[in-house]
């Protein structure tokens, strides 16, 4: 059953239960009221009859006339007056067709009520001129048979009609509520891998649906980016791998075109070897990237002193770029040295940090690079700041794509694998790598690693 039908059904059921309680309450209170009211009428009749018959016999005709004018005649109305002294309750009860307890109640309490099927009895004791009388009025309850039955039918009919109306409104309501959802579904169906640029319209005045569409759009953004990344990766990778291969093939082709001296063969083979080495480096880097990007892989983690790691990375950088200027600032190192421990894989973390140091040196033309280390309550923070060429703002979103190189890196040699690789390694250690950069001003890389507790 879909949500729409569920809404219609539950809404109808809810209102129906409410109306049922409401109708029941009205019906039973009206019935109770008419019941009490009818006994009152009978009592009045009993009193007036007693007054007429026992006290004002001389004015009987006038009083009867008044009574007929102002008190309507009830169906099957009977009034029975008896002197109390000569009454045997049993004989009286038998004569009137009422139980003895009713007569006894009147004698005992001064008045009493009783009903048998639709005939109602109301009795009183009447005291006049030192004598006690028993007055019993009885009549058929017209209201019960007619008015209450009419009320019952009316309420039942109203109930049926209201069910129809409620169902209709619940249908309209659910349609209204679900129209935007249906629109979203229709729109989502249109979006496939072919037209990923399409986005959902954000409704203005519906907070929940606004959030839903924004989440959808956000997801689409991420999907689109990852599609793009994949497309770029394949084209970049094949291009990167193809270049040395073409160069190897060209070199071999030219060399084989005619007979050459041994010296010439030697140079040609040397060139081929150089290109093959480049190719091998690239595939190695790719393999590493694939390994570190794979989440399920179990890595051997050990305790590492992070300050030692930075010093090692600095040495590695100096070996590759002898003229690099790296200033390591351990001013904010914590006093307690055990806070510098990180659980991690030494080779991978070393590679990640030295990659970033190498980038910092390379892209700042060996200007000063500052490295700082600090430990907060939760994180170890490594800050690497250079005054290099920076990253253009509009390209910041692609810097973690493999093989992506910013537009201003033309004169520097590189593959575009270092940063994504470092980021994969840091993420593997449950850390965060963030890059802040301004073009031509410099780049700051912040590495946060969780403190080993």
């Amino acid at each position: 059953m879909n949500t729409r039908n569920k809404i219609i059904l539950s809404l109808t059921a809810l209102v129906l239960v409410y109306i049922l309680i409401f109708c029941g309450f009205i019906y039973f209170s009206i019935e109770n009221y008419s019941y009490v009211d009818f006994y009152k009428r009978l009592e009045i009749r009993a009193v007036t009859a007693a007054k007429i018959e026992l006290e004002h016999r001389q004015d009987r005709d006038i009083l009867l006339e008044i009574r007929q004018d102002f008190l309507e005649k009830l169906p099957d109305e009977k009034i029975n007056i008896a002197d109390l002294s000569g009454v045997d309750p049993r004989a009286k009860a038998k004569k009137l067709g009422v139980p003895v307890s009713f007569i006894e109640e009147i004698l005992h309490r001064g008045k009493g009520f009783y009903n048998h099927e639709n005939t109602y009895f109301s009795g009183i004791q009447y005291e006049t001129q030192g004598k006690n009388y028993l007055v019993i009025a009885s009549a058929e309850n017209y209201y019960n048979t007619h008015h209450n039955a009419y009320l019952k039918n009316l309420l039942l009919a109203a109930l049926l009609v209201s069910i129809l109306i409620i169902t209709f409104f619940a249908y309209l309501f659910s349609k209204m509520v679900f129209r935007p959802v249906k629109n979203i579904i229709d729109k989502m169906r249109e979006i496939s891998s072919e037209n990923m640029h399409l986005r959902l319209e954000v409704p203005k005045n519906n907070e929940e649906l606004k959030n839903l569409t924004l989440t959808f759009n956000d997801m689409l953004n991420r999907l689109e980016t990852s599609f793009e990344t994949q497309k770029n990766f394949i084209s970049n990778a094949s291009h990167e791998l193809n270049t040395p291969l073409t160069s190897i093939m060209g070199e071999a082709d030219v060399t084989l075109a005619k007979q050459r001296s041994e010296e010439e063969y030697r140079t040609a083979l040397g060139n081929i070897l150089e290109d093959a080495e480049k190719l091998s480096k690239k595939t190695e880097a790719l393999l590493l990237l694939a390994h570190t990007g794979f989440n399920g892989k179990v890595q051997k983690f050990e305790d590492i002193r992070i300050d030692e790691l930075i010093l090692e990375a600095e040495q590695t950088t100096h070996k590759i770029y002898p003229n690099a200027q790296i200033h390591i600032d351990f001013d904010l190192l914590p006093e307690a040295s055990e806070k510098l421990n990180v659980k991690g894989n030494r080779q991978l973390l070393h590679m990640a940090v030295s990659n970033i140091l190498l980038n910092a040196c390379k892209y700042s033309d060996f200007k000063e690079v500052r490295v700082a280390l600090g430990v907060s309550d939760d994180n170890i923070i490594i800050m690497i700041k250079d005054k290099g060429i920076g990253i253009p703002k509009q390209e910041m979103q692609y810097i973690y794509d493999p093989f992506f190189r910013a537009s201003n890196t033309g004169k520097y040699h590189g593959y575009g694998i270092g940063l994504p690789l470092s980021r994969n390694v840091i993420q593997m250690h449950k850390g965060i790598l963030s890059v802040f950069s301004a073009e031509n001003e410099g780049t700051t890389v912040e590495i946060k690693l969780p403190v080993c507790k």
């Binding site: 600032d329 904010l332 006093e335 600090g374 430990v375 907060s376 309550d377 923070i381 802040f436 912040e446």
Partner: protein, 159 residues
Amino acid sequence: MKNILVPTDFTVDALVILKKAIEQENEAHNFILVYGKHLPGSISELMFFSKSTLLSSLESKSFTEAKGILKNRYASRIKTLRTAIFHGTNHSAFENFIKANKIDKAYIPENPKSLHPSIKKGFDLIPFIKKSGLELSLVAYNDHSQVNMDEVLAKLLVP
């Protein structure tokens, strides 16, 4: 052991004052970062006013992190480091604040305009501190070149 007041504006930059204050002292002390902010004006806001909620809304993640770095760096010199908010409007209220917190000394930046409490809708505490009879120490900190809320930790770590 003294209680030392350091004004702050909840930017990572301003923690440099705290750092310099710690460096100038030789023993371990209690440091209190103080910020000036008026109490809310409406009764409904006052009813649900909570100091800890206010503090946590003022302290950004990087500010807390930077505080943690300093605490770890100077573990033997910082006995306690806490943050307090001064709500008063006049001088005698500030005197009471000093008395209540048993403050002995204050560090303020040389350039009184270098703190920017207005970023987070607070008021300037420097005039109050100057007017009080506290022992004052000036700290060289006035290179607050640009006021932006991009609070990267780099400002503290790599000046």
